[in-house]
C-alpha cells in the first residue's frame, strides 16, 4: 500500500515536471515567434541532440551555427536579410525527431542543419521532403541516407561509411592494379561494415577477384592459420577492416612468413600506435584516413572563434557543422532566394571554401571534396599518397 502510494506520488511528480516543461517551451516559442515574422529573416533550423547522453555530438553543431550566423549577420546578412537560428532538440531519438521536424516546418524554417544521428535523421527526412525543405547533416554517416535516392533534399558534409571501402578498393584495383584481393575484418561493427562494402564493390568490379572473405577473432593468440589461408588464396592484396592491434599482428606474421602481400586498411589502422607496434613490418602499409585539415586557415580560424566564444576546444563534428552552415547560407545567397529548387541547384553546382576544404555536392547529396585519402607508411610515418 505504502509503495503503491509512493509510486503514485512519483508519477504525479513526473507529470508535473514534464507538464511544466511543456508550458515553458510553449511560452518561449511564442515570444521567439513575434520578432522574426516582421523582420523577414532567413530561418536556419538546427536540429540534433542538444541534451541527453549524446549531447556531446549535437552541441558543437549548434555552436558552429551560432558562430557562422553571428559572423554573417555582422556583415549584413544574406540577400540583405538577417539570418535567424531556430534550435530544436531531438535527443537523437527517431520518435522525437519527427516532432522536432514538424515543429521546424510549422515555424516556416528555410533550411535545416541537422540532424545528428542517422536514425533520427532518417525518421525526420520524410517530413522535410514533403515540405520541400533542404536539410544538411554534419554527422550522419549511414550510406543509405544519400545513396537510396529517396531523399533529394538531404545533403551531408561528412563522408559516408562506404567511402573508405570504395577508396580502398579503387586504390587496389586502379592504382596498384592487383587482380586478386582478400578481404578480412575483425567481426566488429565498424570493421565488418567496411569489409562488407569492400566485398560488394569487389564483386561488382570485373577487374579484380575476391579470393577470400574472413573475420578474424580479435585478441586471438596468433593468426598463423589465417595468414596461411591468405597465402594459399593467392591474394596479391589484403584489405583489412578493423583496428590496429589485429592489423599489426596479421602484418607481422605475414612478413615473417616471407609474404610480400600488399596490406590496405582503414582509419582504425591509420594511427601512430600501429607503426609503433608493427615496427619494421608497418613499412609500406596503406591506410585510408580523413583529409588533413590542420593546415586549413579557415579551420584554424573557426577553432579559434570557438575558443574565444565558448572558452574551450570545439567538440565532435564542429568543422563539419561549420562547413554545412556556410554551404547552406552560401547556396541561398547564390540562388538569390530560399526557393527549394534554386537552392538545391546551387548546392550541387557551386563550390564553397570551408574549413574542410573546397566542397560541393554530388547528385546524391554527398559532399565532393570531403572524405578520405590514402596514406602509406614511409620511413615510420604515414605519408599521403598523391
Amino acid at each position: 500500500m505504502k509503495s503503491g502510494f509512493r509510486k503514485q506520488l512519483i508519477s504525479l511528480a513526473v507529470v508535473i515536471l514534464y507538464g511544466f516543461f511543456l508550458i515553458s517551451c510553449g511560452e518561449s516559442e511564442k515570444t521567439a515567434d513575434a520578432p522574426h515574422k516582421s523582420a523577414e529573416t532567413i530561418k536556419l533550423g538546427v536540429a540534433g541532440a542538444h541534451s541527453g547522453d549524446l549531447a556531446s555530438y549535437g552541441v558543437p553543431s549548434v555552436r558552429a551555427a551560432e558562430i557562422v550566423v553571428r559572423d554573417i549577420n555582422a556583415k549584413g546578412g544574406i540577400l540583405g536579410r538577417r539570418v535567424e537560428l531556430l534550435i530544436e532538440d531531438d535527443v537523437c531519438k527517431p520518435e522525437i525527431a519527427t516532432n522536432t521536424a514538424t515543429k521546424l516546418v510549422t515555424e516556416d524554417v528555410d533550411v535545416v542543419l541537422g540532424h545528428i544521428c542517422s536514425g533520427a535523421t532518417k525518421a525526420a527526412l520524410g517530413i522535410y521532403k514533403d515540405s520541400k525543405i533542404i536539410i544538411m547533416s554534419p554527422s550522419c554517416t549511414n550510406p543509405a541516407l544519400t545513396q537510396s535516392g529517396d531523399y533529394p533534399n538531404f545533403f551531408r558534409t561528412i563522408a559516408s561509411d562506404d567511402v573508405q571501402a570504395r577508396l580502398e578498393v579503387d586504390f587496389a584495383i586502379d592504382i596498384l592494379k592487383v587482380k586478386k584481393i582478400a578481404v578480412l575484418h575483425d567481426k566488429g561493427d565498424y570493421g565488418k561494415g567496411l569489409a562488407e562494402f569492400a566485398k560488394k564493390y569487389l564483386k561488382a568490379s570485373d577487374k579484380a577477384e575476391l579470393v577470400l572473405y574472413e573475420g578474424v577473432t580479435p585478441g586471438a593468440v596468433d593468426y598463423s592459420a589465417v595468414v596461411q589461408k591468405i597465402k594459399h588464396s593467392g591474394a596479391e592484396a589484403v584489405i583489412f577492416g578493423g583496428y590496429h592491434p589485429e592489423a599489426s599482428k596479421i602484418i607481422g606474421q605475414m612478413r615473417k612468413k616471407g609474404m610480400e602481400t600488399v596490406f590496405i586498411s582503414d582509419d582504425g589502422v591509420k594511427d601512430n600506435t600501429f607503426i609503433k607496434v608493427a615496427g619494421e613490418y608497418a613499412e609500406g602499409v596503406y591506410a585510408t584516413g580523413p583529409l588533413d585539415t590542420s593546415n586549413n586557415p579557415m579551420a584554424i580560424a573557426a577553432i579559434e572563434a570557438h575558443k574565444n566564444t565558448y572558452g574551450s576546444e570545439p567538440g565532435a563534428f564542429f568543422l563539419n557543422a561549420y562547413s554545412a552552415s556556410l554551404c547552406l547560407l552560401n547556396a541561398i545567397q547564390k540562388a538569390g532566394s530560399t526557393n527549394y529548387d534554386a537552392v538545391s541547384k546551387a548546392l550541387r553546382t557551386e563550390y564553397v571554401d570551408t574549413p574542410l576544404g573546397k566542397i560541393s555536392f554530388d547528385e546524391h547529396g554527398d559532399a565532393i571534396g570531403v572524405g578520405f585519402c590514402m596514406y602509406q607508411v614511409h620511413n615510420g610515418v604515414y605519408v599521403e599518397v598523391k
Binding site: K187, E214, G215, V216, T217, G219, A220, V221, D222, Y223, S224, A225, V226, Q228, K229, K231, H232, H244, P245, S248, K249, G252, Q253, K256, K257, G258, M259, T273, K276, V277, A278, G279, Y281
Partner: protein
C-alpha cells in the same frame, strides 16, 4: 599437402602455448581442486617482465642470446614469485573454506592483476621485440614454418619432458602426486602439503611465463589484457583433456590448437571459436571427465 602441413604446424605452435598455460590450471586443480583464474594474468606478467628486461639489457649492450636467456629467466622467476604470492595471499587463507570462496578470490585476483598492470604500465599495446633470431637454415622453408615457431615447439617439448621427469622421478614429484591423490593422507605420512602446493604454483607460473615470452615474441605485441583470452583458451584445453591430468592438459591443448587451425584453414576463421567450443561440448558429452580425465567416485 603443403597447406595441410602448414596448418598442422601452425596448430601445434598455438597448441604448445595453450599447453604451457593449461599445465598450470590442471596442476593446481589436481592438487587443491581450485580453478586458478588469475593464471592467465601470470602469463601476461611474464610477458611484461620479459619486455622490461629486454629493453634494459639491450640498452646495457648485452648480445642477442644473453638477452633472450636472461629476459626469459627473469620472466620465469618474477612470474613464479607472483604465483607463489598470489597463492599465499588469496588462496591459502581460504584453504578450509567452501570451494566457491577461493574461486571468487581467484577472479578477484585476476581483475586486480590486470588493473595493476594497466595502471603501473599502460593501457596501450606495446611493441614486443623479436627475441628469436631468424635462423639461416630455416629461411628456405620459412613459408612453412618460421624460426619462432620452431623455437616454440622445441622449448615447449623440452619443458614438458622436464616436467614429466620432475613428477615421475623426484621426491618432490612423488609428494605432489601423493597430495593430489589424498591431501589428508599425504599430510599424515609427513608430506609438507603447504610446501607442495607452493611448488605447484611456482612450476605452473614458470611455465605460463615461458609461454608468455614465447608468444609475445612471436606476435610482437602485448597489452594488459592478453592473459584473458589465452587463459580462457588454456582453461578450455585443460577441461578438454581432463582437468587434473597433466598429459591430458597437453593433449587437450594440442587438440584445441589443431582444431582451431583446421577450422580456420578449411572452413572459415569466423567459426574458429565455434569449432573449438563445439568440440569441447562434444567431448564432454561422451567423456564428461575429458579425454584423459578419470571419473572418480564421489566420497560421501
Amino acid at each position: 599437402m603443403e597447406y595441410f602441413l602448414e596448418l598442422i604446424l601452425g596448430g601445434l605452435t598455438r597448441g604448445s602455448i595453450y599447453a604451457l598455460i593449461a599445465l598450470g590450471y590442471t596442476m593446481v586443480y589436481g592438487i587443491i581442486q581450485l580453478i586458478n583464474f588469475a593464471h592467465g594474468e601470470i602469463y601476461m606478467i611474464g610477458a611484461f617482465t620479459a619486455l622490461i628486461f629486454t629493453s634494459v639489457l639491450t640498452l646495457l649492450g648485452f648480445n642477442e642470446i644473453a638477452v633472450i636467456v636472461l629476459a626469459s629467466l627473469a620472466a620465469v622467476i618474477y612470474s613464479s614469485a607472483y604465483g607463489y604470492t598470489v597463492e599465499k595471499i588469496a588462496y591459502m587463507p581460504l584453504r578450509r573454506a567452501s570451494r566457491l570462496s577461493p574461486l571468487i578470490s581467484a577472479i578477484g585476483m585476476s581483475i586486480f592483476l590486470q588493473n595493476y598492470v594497466l595502471l603501473a604500465q599502460t593501457s596501450d599495446f606495446l611493441p614486443f621485440p623479436n627475441l628469436i633470431p631468424e635462423f639461416e637454415f630455416i629461411k628456405p622453408y620459412r613459408h612453412i614454418i618460421s624460426s619462432p615457431e620452431i623455437v616454440i615447439l622445441i622449448t615447449t617439448s623440452t619443458a614438458m619432458i622436464l616436467l614429466t621427469f620432475l613428477i615421475k622421478f623426484t621426491r618432490t614429484g612423488k609428494a605432489m602426486r601423493a597430495t593430489a591423490q589424498d591431501r589428508n593422507m599425504a599430510m599424515l605420512v609427513g608430506v609438507n602439503v603447504n610446501r607442495v602446493i607452493s611448488i605447484t604454483f611456482v612450476i605452473g607460473s614458470a611455465l605460463a611465463a615461458l609461454g608468455g615470452v614465447l608468444i609475445a615474441s612471436h606476435v610482437g605485441q602485448i597489452n594488459f589484457y592478453i592473459g584473458f583470452v589465452a587463459g580462457i583458451k588454456a582453461f578450455t584445453a585443460a577441461v578438454l583433456g581432463g582437468i587434473g591430468s597433466i598429459p591430458g592438459a597437453v593433449l587437450g591443448a594440442l587438440v584445441l590448437g589443431l582444431t582451431e587451425s583446421f577450422a580456420t584453414g578449411y572452413v572459415s576463421s569466423d567459426y574458429e571459436d565455434v569449432f573449438a567450443f563445439g568440440l569441447l561440448v562434444l567431448i564432454l558429452i561422451f567423456k564428461p571427465a575429458g579425454i584423459l580425465g578419470r571419473v572418480t567416485a564421489r566420497k560421501v
